[in-house]
Symmetry: D3
Subunit: 135 residues, 6 copies
């Protein structure tokens, strides 16, 4: 038996994909128009899943007010209306691909949530392109 509660959030950010140690030609070949040096951006839509046991007293798996605050502090404040490459420490050395952003969000959330919860991060970069990362 498994019970998971999901909460949605979203942030709008600029990014680009490139490696400093690669030539412009190689960046363009591998990352295509995503490597535009002037940046482009996305509306990232996030679904955080928390798997755990129900609290018999309240009927809640988790107090969503706490989860909401953790997502706000760990994801929305640092990522929303930001340039991910320039303003988020984690992406100064690794590419802000949707895969890496999902993993970073997972790491931030699990550092704050009780480890009795299993956390799942579903992140849409566009309505047509998304990832699921599960610990």
């Amino acid at each position: 038996m498994s019970l998971t509660v999901y909460r949605k959030a979203h942030f709008n950010a600029a990014h680009r994909l490139f490696r400093e140690d690669w030539s412009d030609a190689k960046n363009s070949q591998i990352f295509g128009k995503c490597s535009n040096p002037n940046y482009h951006g996305h509306n990232y839509e996030l679904e955080v899943g928390i798997t755990g046991d129900i609290d018999a007293e309240t009927g809640f798996l988790i107090d969503l007010k706490i989860l909401k605050d953790v997502i706000y502090e760990e994801v929305e404040i640092p990522f929303d209306h930001k340039n991910l490459n320039v303003e988020v420490e984690a992406f100064k050395n690794i590419n802000p691909t949707v895969e890496n952003i999902a993993i970073e969000i997972y790491n931030r959330l699990t550092s704050r949530l009780d480890n009795r919860y299993k956390v799942t991060v579903k992140l849409y970069e566009t309505p047509r392109n998304f990832v699921v990362y599960t610990g």
Copy 2:
């Protein structure tokens, strides 16, 4: 290998979250505006997943007409346009949180379906708040 077929349904219902053995102050602190004594309500959107083996003769995992009837009898008839606290026996003693409603739906469906099927219940309380319960 795993094959799951999903069918959607929906119901509109009133509910409130509270415990009779708690003070009004404590109900308000834990359940917030969800504890309004006059009730509020939701459009619950339901996705029922049935995992099993394909029938080689028909190419169906399950006869969806049977599944449709079971969902109608076990969920839509008793829950749609109802007050969950007042009119559904299961929620007279436990809170109709989205977690508990999903578990109740799961129990109702599995009591009627062949136990060779694994059943998954995904229940949206709002487009932004949902649970998945898997047996």
Copy 3:
């Protein structure tokens, strides 16, 4: 030429449809299960459209922060997690049909917004049932 900016909001509420001056039988015949005396409820999804002229200096038609505050004060605060029949004055004497709720929202918003704007209210009672009211 016509330019309209839209902003979404939502509220979850309980209601019932009935007339006190009608018999139970007539209420049931006209309003069906919507007349359940114990109430049922919906997730109302609202899209407010503001038609007007663009401000050449900012490139905005309206300051969305102001619109957001007006919607919050006039719709979300009084309607969200409420019983519309019991707790909203306007629906003590008229039925809270989706038509009447849209008209009430329109009246509340236009009472607060500059009359140089034309206001449109699109209100979903369910994902399958909605109205548009335009002044």
Copy 4:
């Protein structure tokens, strides 16, 4: 830990469900209006999930340009704007139920993709009826 990247695609096709070795009466009883001899059709919406390890150099799990080409060649070209019963070899002897179409897509994709990937196929026959097939 598990990371899955999803890509969407779609195709519009005609089909019917029936068995040649059954009487018209039995086909009609089991498959209902889906057995109409003149065919009907659907907008199939496809989500292909690829589970695997991230490439530390690029931050990609898979080069989506390659995945896009494989889906185009193996699914869109042979299925889009086609009559599945008449024009797709696999469905000359088995019924093109949404279950069987998902399995056929899975087999086509895995025959082309590196077997270090786990592949998941989610296929919507309608917005209300869909399957998930996982290898």
Copy 5:
């Protein structure tokens, strides 16, 4: 002031676009893969809008049970799980483009509804391609 109530419905059908008086080459040039002689198909999603005056007694613009029955009889029964070219009289001589299907639905609905209503037909051939026809 204008008030419109919308109701959704859907049907799944096969069709093809072609003119008998054109060569295969010209049909293919103008209609592309939509002219496949073996047909293809779509999930058509329909939104019917009824503009009119509110009934002060009920708070309804129209009795939706009546509208639902009219849509069922005039659209769902004749179109759902059908081959539009072969089984719908109107499309024996004109092409079942999404434009012509919307006009045919409009004509069928207005022949049944009181002419005090203005009728709008929004018809999705795919989630990405749709028309609006207003009388």
Copy 6:
């Protein structure tokens, strides 16, 4: 009577809102986090509506292949994966608000389409914030 055909497209871009002739404090007061000098970005979803007369011979209002090419050349090529402030001439002197982007798209499309068509541009900056511009 009015018939409109819609086609969807999308582009992902970076932008910021600010006026060079304003102080940082005033930009921040009016444009809030949208004025971040490092840019942020969005998935813009576009619906182009073409109102006109049906061609009796084909049953089409417009050849969608032509419309598709015009949208691709006038919107997707110049805007997709671009920084709107830096790389689109029109936004060097006016703010790329969703209002102004919609007007720019309208001007680009009407410069290419036959003036017998009325053009409508619906542009989503986020799923929750959008405009409609009609000529």
